[in-house]
């Protein structure tokens, strides 16, 4: 049984349903990647897990517990960390303050977690007093991931973490995400760079029009002719 399970998810933004009954699951120590065309509902699916969507059906469980009735803040307390696609750092605040704000809901000592994040992203330690807005795109994404990790989440959701960064930076970010996975975190990630993302994925979903089109291990999807032709550019 996976740790975070969304079954038959239906919902939208008040109008017609954007998600039309899709299933998405991710287990601890797994990287699960959602790919699909623009407007397929990938970001919307993440909002469903976060509780920021008007749901019309389906169920979401976290570690076996139903979390459908929880507010976004309560879900974060329950262990979901989220890195939005854009505007995902406090640009006017220092790197360290960004991380502190990530830990806002914690009342215990955060210095250990801070040290862990700095070990994961050494560049952040070097730039800890610099404003996040002054960093390069790749470094900013590290701040964004680090901020979300400060609550010690059991599930980390990332919306297109490698959008707009160079291939080298992308590889490095994926390496870091694998290190996060190694901490027994469930990683759920939406990716435009589908081919590279599926290479590190334990499982992948191809989402089209709010429905599951293909599901399989990363390798299976990469080997599938239909998936390759339609979604990976041949």
């Amino acid at each position: 049984m996976s740790y975070l399970v969304g079954k038959d998810l239906c919902g939208g933004y008040g109008g017609p349903d954007i998600l039309k009954g899709c299933d998405i699951e991710v287990g601890k120590g797994e990287v699960v990647v959602i790919v699909g065309p623009n407007g397929a509902g990938k970001s919307t699916a993440m909002k469903a897990f976060l509780g920021m969507l008007q749901m019309t059906g389906g169920s979401i469980t976290l570690g076996g517990e139903d979390i459908m009735s929880l507010s976004p803040q309560q879900r974060i307390r329950a262990g979901i960390g989220f890195v939005p696609q854009t505007h995902n750092v406090f640009t006017g605040m220092s790197v360290e303050e960004n991380l502190e704000m990530g830990a806002f809901i914690r009342d215990d000592d955060i210095s250990g977690t801070l040290e862990e994040i700095y070990q994961l992203f050494p560049i952040l330690k070097e730039k800890r007093l610099q404003a996040a807005g002054e960093l390069s795109g790749g470094q900013r994404q590290q701040v964004a991931v680090g901020r979300a990790m400060m609550t010690k989440p059991s599930v980390l959701m990332l919306d297109e973490p490698t959008a707009g960064v160079s291939p080298i930076v992308m590889d490095e970010l994926f390496d870091r995400i694998l290190e996060v996975r190694a901490k027994n975190v469930a990683v759920l990630m939406v990716e435009q760079n589908a081919r590279q993302a599926l290479q590190i994925a334990d499982k992948g979903y191809v989402l089209v029009m709010g429905e599951n089109r293909f599901t399989g291990t990363g390798a299976e999807l990469l080997a599938d002719d239909d998936v390759r032709k339609s979604f990976l550019g041949g």
């Binding site: 976004p72 307390r77 939005p84 995902n88 502190e100 806002f104």
Partner: protein
Amino acid sequence: MPEFIDILNALVLMTNYVILPALTYGSQLALGALGVTLVFGILRFSNFAHGDTMAFGAMVTILITWWFQSLGLSFGPLPTALLALPFGIAVTAVFLLFTDRFVYKHYRGIGAKPITFVMVSVGVMFIMNGLVRFVIGPADQRFADGARFIFKAREFKEYTGLAEGLALRSSQVITIVLAIILVAALFWFLQKTKTGKAMRAFSDNENLALLSGIDPDKIVRITWILAAILATVAGVLYGLDKSFKPFVYFQLLLPIFAAAIVGGLGKPIGAIAGGFIIAFSEVAITYVYKKFLIYLLPENLEPESLMQLLATEYKFAVSFVILVLVLLVRPTGIFKGNVV
């Protein structure tokens, strides 16, 4: 070359009529602009009621001061108003929280646009304006007591033997000292405490702040309390330094907004810089330089006219011109704040 003693006299003249008054006025504007900029940074609208909030806070403090004076309470050489100040702040804070609960909260709930909020704040401004005039009247009120001077111009002249006198009024020292303490405390709060950082985070990126579990209602409440502290202190200091007249506080809105925008709306450090820029410009442009130049220039070059760039009656034009120039040339202000 002017003689050394003439240069000294010119400097004393400048200090007495430009530097000290502008430092005092600048501190008052800076405190006012800080309130405007904080509300803008968190609630994202220009609060036109801030000038009248200063009047309201000053009025409550004055009423309590009079009551204290009637009880025979005094603060020694310091004005009794400083004793009343904490109570004035408390009442003003309650008033602002009340306004937020019954006015602004509704508009946040329906996701109103910033311009709607501005118009709502104009409504609040008229209400507060009326309330203040109703309670204390439109006339000038004096409430300063305690020692008026640290030293007088005559004492300075006798002591130094210079022809020019320099007076140091207690209200000037109190204004500058209190402003420094308040600004230091505010920056410590914003930079070092968890709640202060959460306020900056909320101002920086509201959605991400919510995602981080920051409670927006608490941030809004603290913002109003800070606005009450800053407005009341600024209002009382201005009243101690000049006098209290409701209409004057309404007029202060222009230089205060000019200060906040010149510094960069939403940037506390900008509000302080802006306050002093506006104050020094206003005082320096309306100052009569005749005597000053007589000290420094050779006799054949001495000016006949007053050497005044702008009559004092037009001092508000200075803020207005600076405001327009900044909006044209650098709308984000010195410290890259928000564009209005």
